[in-house]
Structures are given as C-alpha cells and as structure tokens.
Symmetry: C2
C-alpha cells in the first residue's frame, strides 16, 4: 500500500453555470463536485477536494487553489492532463504540484486577490458577457476610484458581510484596492488577507452607486464608521466577480497594490 | 397601413452552443432562429433576417451584419434594447440602424474580416476556451507568419473550400493576412472580398501544421498552384474562428492590412 500524496492545484472556472463552489446534497452542478468526480475517476475511489474558500453561485475563478490527497503517485502533469480531459469546458486545472502533507489550501492562504469587472458599453458582447457586469455609460470612474481609496487598511468590514456576524470578527486587512478604466471597462482589484462572505460584491454595489451619482464617495467611510447596513446599496451581480489569485507566500515585499 | 422599414443590425454571438447561423427545419438551436424569434415577438408577426453570410456550427461573430424589414417604425435604440432583452446571453445586437430599402446585407458587402485565435498555453483558461483553439506550446509562429505571407492576392482559393466547386469560381481577393503573437496566443487576421465555405479554417489547418513543423511554409504556394487537396491538413477547429467585421464601404483607402 503506497502512502497518500498531497497535491495542490490551481483551478479556473467560469461560474455562470455552476451553483457555486461547494458540493451540495441536492445534486446541483457545483465546481467542487465536478473536480471531485474527475479526480475520483482517475483515482478509482472517492476524492475530497479542499478549496482556499467557497465562491458563490455565478462567481468565477482564474486562480482558485485547492488541495487533495491521492493514493496513486501520479506525476502532476499526467494528473492535470487526465483531469482536464474529464472536466467540462467551464472548469480546468491550470497547474498541479505535489506539496508536503501539511499543506492546507484554506488555512495556509496568506492573501487573496479579487477582480470586479464592469462594462459601460451600450451592449456587452456575448464573448465577455459571462464575466463582466453592466454599468451605466455615464458612470463616473473617477468618483468610484475616490471611494475605493477609502477602503484599504485593517478595519471591521462586517457591514459589508452578507449576513450579520454573531461573535465572529469582521476585522480584515485590505492591502489595496485599485480602480482603473480600460476603454468601456471599469475594473476594481482587491487584495487582502481575507474577505468576508459577500464583502466584495457588497462594496462593489456601493462603488457602482457612487459612479452613478446615487451616493457620495464618503458613503464608504460612513458605512465603515457606522456599520449601518441601511446605507448599503444593492449587492453587485455575481457575474462581474473573479477570484484571481490565492497566495501562500509571506512575501518580504509589502503586498500593497500599486496606486 | 405603414410602410415597412428596413433595418441593418450588427450581431455578435458565441457560436459554441448554436448549430451555426442558418435556421433549420429540425428545430436545432441556430443564431438566425434566435434573432428571428426575438424580432417576431417585438413585431407581432414573423420576421426574416438576412445575414451577410452563414457561419458554421461553433463559429463566432463579433460583427456579423444582417438586414430585416419591420412594419412597426421603432427607433433603432428601442429595437436594439427590446431585442437584447429577449435574446439569450450568447447572441446580442450590438448596433441597429435604419437603412434604405435597397440595402442588402449579403449582396452589398464589400469586404469581410475573420480572426483565428490559437493558444499555446498548456491549459486554456475556461474564460477563453470557447473562442480560442489549442496549439502546441512549441509551435513556431514565425514559420506560420511566413506561410501566411504567401496567401494575399487575387487567386483561386478553391482548394481550401469545404467542397469541390462545380462550375462556381474559386477566385477571391485576400487583401491581407496578418499573423501575430500576443503572449501565449497566436492570431491570424484575414481580410478579403469574399471567403469560400470552410476556406479560413482549411487555411488555418495548414498554418497550424506549418507551426508544428509538419509542413513547410511553401505548402501554401503548392496548394494554391496545384489545387491538390491531398496536400491539405485537417481543418482547424471551429471554436477558434470569429467573423469580426463586414464592411459596406468602398473605402478610398486600400483595405490592405498593415504588415
């Protein structure tokens, strides 16, 4: 009997046609179930896949990270190719590596990066429509950038969590938020040591209202200071959100984003 | 009774989940049927949509052009918004305009542009996988560009047509073919006064074999000179091909692409 090997994989998916990351009892199509099914076929027995964190229904990933154990000692390349051949078009393993048995995708994560994409085009072309959310053509990206600058720091972000937190701390460190325009597109990139459930989409809802002139940039400061959820805007659509990267390195460089 | 108005629309679609452009009797999902259904709902009666040309199953469009007639005199903006609200995610009207009753999307087209995209990445991320075809990481884009330079001109391209032409002329003018690398990606852009059925994918199949070192760049010249279909490579996958643009203007500028 061979020793189990632990593997780390970087997983990319278009979340549109999945009911989120997490496997569900009611047999909904989820990313975790799809990856576990492919790996089980290769391993010849059930495999449990542990992610750095869940993503909600409709949210995408360019760099979700997972770990899992296999008894079969396959090379990472063969495992990646075998799994990708079995996986549907909307989820693939970008990279696979063997890691020490102590590695844990969620507990060892040091920081994460999320990207939110809006388009101010009159019509979003189908080739981008799954991963970009609509925004009014008149939206003011300069005001949105001003609001985004009020976010970084070690703060209680509990007001932006999808549910009120009972006992649990809402304190997280946002290293940086950069908001940039690229043609019709407005992008917000968030880097932090952790994100509360629904936090990025809730922040982006406020940013979009700031862009539309429905809220002043200072709304962000008032939300953070007061924790008053009545000041929130509707949450931004899941379709615009992508988990870009999970880092496991305590970089000697400050992970602050360039302004 | 009002006069019928003729409209021109620019249509974008991800072709993956359609059985090509053309409406079919067997109720397959086609782009034409989807657009006609949306317009019929708005018009309250059947509408026939005429495209600049068909695209095959799995081929995409960023700028297909169509014309159709409506009795209702709707503004182009309302028509676009109404239709897009009814259309599925994978096909949208990017622009709608009223045009003179004599306008004909196919007969009046002066030139067209097709783009073929390959990726040399080990794994193509799902967010691009629908519109990019895989190519070996070792493929030589310089050799492919060399082969592409042998294509432009007024020539008989019949050897690249999906079927032997009976009587019909295979002569078309390719104004230019540009092949460029962008990171892992290799792109070939074709501009010409007309394209035979299957011609771009057949050419791209040869270009890919040149990149892989399975054929010399001169294979293109030999194919054009001999018309010998035994020298062809397998046709490139539909998923990499996008109809980018249809032009109706006899530009005073030569439509030759920049080298």
């Amino acid at each position: 009997v061979s020793e189990p090997c632990r593997y780390r994989a970087t997983v990319a998916y278009v979340g549109t046609f999945f009911h989120g990351w997490q496997r569900q009892k009611n047999a909904e199509r989820t990313v975790q179930a799809a990856v576990e099914k492919a790996l089980a076929k290769i391993a010849g027995r059930p495999v449990t896949v542990h992610a750095s964190g869940r993503t909600d229904t409709g949210v995408h990933a360019d760099g979700q990270v997972v770990h899992f154990d296999l008894l079969a000692a396959l090379t990472p390349e063969r495992l990646r190719e075998g799994a990708n051949g079995l996986l549907p078009w909307d989820v693939k393993l970008l990279e696979v590596a063997r890691v020490p048995a102590g590695f844990h995708a969620r507990r060892d994560a040091v920081w994460k990066e999320y990207l939110y994409r809006w388009s101010r085009a009159k019509v979003i072309p189908p080739s981008e429509a799954l991963v970009v959310a609509p925004l009014s053509g008149r939206a003011d990206a300069v005001a949105m950038a001003e609001a985004a600058r009020l976010l970084p720091g070690e703060r209680d972000f509990g007001v932006f969590a999808v549910r009120r937190l009972h006992g649990q701390s809402g304190v997280r460190t946002l290293y940086g938020v950069t908001l940039e325009q690229r043609g019709d597109e407005v992008r917000a990139l968030f880097r932090g040591d952790g994100f509360l459930r629904g936090m990025v989409r809730s922040i982006c809802g406020v940013l979009a209202d700031v862009g539309r002139g429905k809220a002043p940039a200072e709304r962000i400061s008032r939300l953070l200071a007061s924790g008053d959820r009545r000041l929130l805007s509707p949450k931004a659509d899941a379709c615009g959100l992508t988990l870009m990267r999970v880092s496991y390195e305590e970089s000697t460089n400050c992970p602050k984003l360039n302004p």
